[in-house]
Symmetry: C2
């Protein structure tokens, strides 16, 4: 007997789940393209050496294998390394700045858990080759428009900058070495609270006064202008932090000029973001409707995309996680509710009505209405209606001899049980 | 130095290619859904044993490897075996007949050649769990509507049936064993001509008279009705062939009743189709604009989808090959011509016009127009226009002080060089 199961951490997506996944992906692509982002697709398989040496401890998560010729291959781990390869490999065909998006699966040999899969899809947007704060602002705008298009009622994107965090560490008397521990402690603020962070800082050897100063800055809240002002006072002696605050101010002005609603974003010095490859602004979106964690995040990472090209290539971007969005939207009841693609089931009343019924289906399709027809036109009408209902189709159409003689179609709402005759030529319009 | 190359037979798709690929995929999905087909997605990775023992000689083409835990895995070879697994694994959640589609990559360690890749995408449609000839007809209708939606000017789908070919072999005095060789010889008719086929038949031990009878039937041409009539006369002693002709007649009537144009399909006894797993009707689409080969094909295969469920599950389907369609459409000049997603580039004339320009971009996006903006608003207008042109954007918009004072926008057509002032409130409509 064959093994009828999926590989752990990899899932089949049956139609009801796929309809929501496709809605998410198509909605996001619509937003990406309205900003002029261009699609890129790279193979799921890469030479292993393309991926190696870039991921530190996470390298053990790469799926590696050898092909028939003994070549070492690896499955795509993310969409970032392939982007770096493409930027170097096709330098003559790509003009910078380049807005590119990529939608597809990546693979990681992680321990599966709720919301964490070994095959997962991401929709990445990056602006490659621009230092402009307008690029950072545009990525946040895409994030904002994307979540709005998906129907998220409220959310806020927190903004910070690597060198604001660096400055906070430096003016508190810590060296670069210790700063990493600070970020990791701050990252847990939501989980362990201010006292927990203070405790953790002291555990890692930060003295009381220093921990207090750090927490004072990190816990700053209020309007972005007020927070910016307060940080400028705290950090005015640190040139890199001052430049970072200037940069954040430019990004905030970009968001304002682009017309993004002020409630959608907020400067937040407590935002650390775990990934060490960020070099500038970082951002992360939270929602009061989803207290379990952030919806997504991203930032500026100027050192990564040029790794194959042998030069820095300024880049800012983010990834929408399709699995995360799917889980959240399902829980919040967002997105379409239809269980199937067809909106209408056209029955066949009897042999004499078969041609008329199939032609009606064709007309409706031409008018853009998705239509399923009875495949067994000889089966009784009741059985056909039952099939339509079981499939989750909303409306069943009947063209019996009475309807045909009156040039009408009987439209049955399978959800409410209501039914009414509609003039044949008006039926497409009525269903649309 | 890193290896900057793709694995042989696997390709990056840069934006211009991706735009055509996405157009193909989205157009086909639109057609599939208008017929009520539902999306299914399965992982790219399967346990190797799911794929093993189904492909005969082709099994050596499977990409196999072991994961971190020593489990034997394989990359998806096609969308058919996963469909069979899903039908058995989720029998409680799936009601038959089931119209399912699947779009995605499969992997084969084939020798790469023009048009043959090791990573390739297919868009599969299958109707699972129906013997009805209307199911066969619907698959051909989807094929027809799909190619029409993609803009193919002329094409014909040839229809045949496995048991018509079987009957031709049997009434010519050949046994089932020899029949396979006949199909392979007939399959080459277009390449080697009637005399070549005659030669090949005689080489494989078929005597002159027998080869003549086979060729007489196989070369029948004309209207489907005439061909059907002639085949009925030749094959009336072979019960299975007669049943097959009845089935083909029902399928042809289904196509007629569904309103598919008669020029789009044709009964053709010479159509063999190589794959041995077909059990009933087979079809293949050719076009006079593409003499190099067929565009796609499919058929009924009742023995395959039930292989995990342990019972026959009647199924008919086909696969659109995205690579093939892409190559043909590019050669025939079909599909969209745009080199980028953005239709409009909004420039920033100067610091004073920045807000108005970015707001204009936002308004256009809200109206559904894809818009790219200048990321370096301080750079000279000429440089911004050059960037727009290099990106392949058709229109550049300028909001200078004159335009602002007149509540106008200057619309420059970068292809023709023409430019004109358009009232601000009319610009979205003018560009749509």
């Amino acid at each position: 007997m064959q093994k009828l199961q999926n590989i752990k951490g990899m899932r089949d997506h049956l139609p009801p789940a796929m309809l929501l996944r496709q809605y998410i992906i198509n909605t996001l692509i619509g937003v990406f393209e309205r900003y002029g982002f261009e699609p890129l697709s790279t193979p799921v398989l890469e030479y292993a050496e393309v991926l190696e040496g870039k991921l530190g401890d996470d390298e053990k998560l790469i799926y590696r294998f050898e092909d028939h010729g003994g070549r070492k291959l690896a499955l795509r781990y993310d969409q970032t390394v392939p982007l770096a390869r493409v930027v170097a490999q096709y330098s003559g065909q790509i003009t910078l700045p380049w807005r590119r998006y990529a939608v597809g699966a990546s693979y990681r040999g992680e321990r599966p858990a709720r919301g964490r899969y070994r095959e997962f899809w991401q929709a990445d947007v990056d602006i490659v080759g621009s230092h402009s704060p307008l690029a950072d602002a545009e990525i946040v705008a895409v994030l904002s428009d994307g979540l709005e298009a998906l129907g998220f009622p409220t959310f806020t994107t927190l903004l910070n900058h690597r060198q604001v965090l660096g400055g906070i560490a430096r003016v508190s008397g810590l060296d670069e070495e210790a700063a990493g521990g600070i970020y990791r402690a701050i990252d847990k603020l939501d989980k362990i609270g201010a006292e927990g962070v203070r405790e953790e800082l002291r555990h890692s050897g930060v003295d009381q006064g220093c921990a207090d100063r750090i927490l004072e800055m990190v816990l700053l809240e209020g309007s972005s202008e007020d927070t910016l002002q307060a940080l400028r006072q705290h950090l005015h002696d640190d040139a890199r932090a001052v430049a970072a605050l200037d940069n954040l101010e430019d990004i905030l002005r970009g968001l304002e000029d682009m017309g993004i609603a002020p409630a959608r974003y907020c400067l937040s010095p407590r935002l650390a973001r775990g990934l060490s490859y960020y070099t500038g602004a970082v951002f992360e979106t939270i929602s009061s409707h989803w207290p379990q964690g952030s919806l997504l995040g991203g930032g500026r990472y100027d050192d990564l995309i040029g790794m194959f090209a042998g030069q820095r290539v300024a880049t800012v971007g983010l990834a929408f996680g399709v699995e995360r969005l799917h889980d959240v939207m399902e829980e919040l009841g967002l997105g379409p509710r239809n269980r199937t693609t067809a909106q209408v089931f056209v029955t066949v009343f009897g042999a004499e009505q078969r041609v008329a019924s199939l032609q009606l289906a064709r007309e409706l399709r031409a008018a853009g209405v998705p239509v399923m027809t009875a495949l067994e036109p000889e089966s009784p009408l009741g059985k056909q209606l039952k099939e339509a209902d079981r499939k989750g189709v909303r409306y069943a159409l009947v063209l019996g001899p009475d309807e045909l003689s009156r040039s009408e179609v009987l439209v049955k709402d399978l959800a409410s049980g209501e039914q009414r005759g509609v003039a044949r030529e008006a039926v497409a319009e009525a269903l649309r």
